[in-house]
């Protein structure tokens, strides 16, 4: 629905303006590295490269192969990593609440 879409856009914009998005991004990256997600994904990349051949790998190949897996495992990571009420591994929702309020 467009309303949701608008809301999403507004939230995004607000996040960017506040600089929160960057902060969240860095936070997420740190968490993923810590949990080993990054190394897992890198190993997967290696397999893909060996499969495709070292010389002919393109970014698109990697992205299409790697992203869904990454997304899926990240979701699994977040379930494992929390102890909080929200399903998010970090306190993103509170930030978003802040924004919304």
């Amino acid at each position: 629905m467009s309303k949701d879409y608008q809301m999403k856009a507004a939230i995004n914009q607000k996040l960017i303006e506040m600089g929160e998005r960057e902060r969240l991004k860095e936070l997420l990256r740190a968490k993923l590295v810590e949990s080993g997600w990054k190394d897992q994904l890198k190993a997967h990349c290696k397999d893909v490269i060996r499969e495709k051949g070292l010389e002919h790998v393109t970014v698109e190949d990697l992205v299409t192969e790697v992203t869904p897996k990454g997304r899926g495992t990240a979701r699994r990571q977040q379930v494992v990593g929390t102890g909080q009420k929200s399903s998010c591994p970090c306190s993103k929702t509170e930030k978003i609440n802040l924004v919304v309020q």
């Binding site: 999403k8 990054k38 994904l41 990697l62 992203t67 990240a74 998010c88 993103k92 609440n97 309020q101």
Partner: protein, 375 residues
Amino acid sequence: MKMEDMPLSGPDNTKLEALVNDIYSELVEDACLGLCFEVHRAVKQGYFFLDETDQESMKEFEIVDQPGVDIFGQVYNQWKNKECECPNCKRLIAASRFAPHLEKCLGMGRNSSRIANRRLASNNNMSKSESDQEDNDDLNDNDWSYGAEKRAKKRKSDKSQTSPRRSKTLKHKNGELGSGISADPYKYNYNAGINYEMLGPDEVQSFLTTQCGVISEHTKKMCTRSQRCPQHTDEQRMAVRVFLLGPSAPVLPEADSVAVPESFDIPDGQALMSRLQWEDSPEISPSDSASSKASTNHSDSRRPKKKKPRPSLGLNSGGGIGSLSGGGGGGSSQISERPLPPPPPQRLCIPNIRKLKNTVTPTREMVAGAVKNCL
């Protein structure tokens, strides 16, 4: 504001959750993309697989765990038993001794020049000395004068530190060295004991103009230190010069400076005794006046320091008086316990001491004794 504090309504909650999830997945996608770019760049630049090694190299560099061998598979002391041929002297030297041998053989390096100089010096001395002395490594220290044996022992220990293989010990043979002055009197070697009997008068004079020359009681040798050596006083030096060169001995350059000897530490009580001897004898022949008056000048200042031996000295000098033996029983007992006058420096002052013995300085005790006797 925390989420826990803000309860949300049902539909909004789910919507919010959905939104949050969307934002979150966007962030995750960004992270994935970042990783992909990184990997792709690494692949294209060629450093992606650098941290991996293939199986063959892995086997080659595996950790070795055998006895007698380190983890790289190398034997520890395989070079110990090997011998190397010295390019200089063509001898076969053990590997662990090769470097020091080269140092000495080629004449380079710190120790070798020192040892060579020592050898030269001792060879010069040996050629002139009567006794057969071993090489001594004593030139390490700058101690010129002779010494007490403790100094010789200290030199022994110093020496053993510098050269590990040194098994010969230095023997300080007191009195056995009868060497004259070496060709270069300024070359220092503590064994070059200068015995004044061996020198001619000219040599003595030239020696005494530059060096201390005080004759040591132990070894009868002259001190080879400088004119200002702290172990001997100017009085001693002058006495030596008088003794060796006759009464017309030239006055020492420092005879004028009275203040100088004051600062010297006098370890030898006998030196003080000799000074007191000078001071106790006012009647000295005019020929000695030059030397003795100079000495009494600065020995006067020392008078208050030592009063104790004074009476005994005075009594000693007045041996001729019969009343002394009777009176002053305590004093005379002191005399009997000291058969000799204070020994060594006095040997230098021999001509003067004879005169001293003949003079009598009436001291208080002597007078008291004489009076008692009369009564």
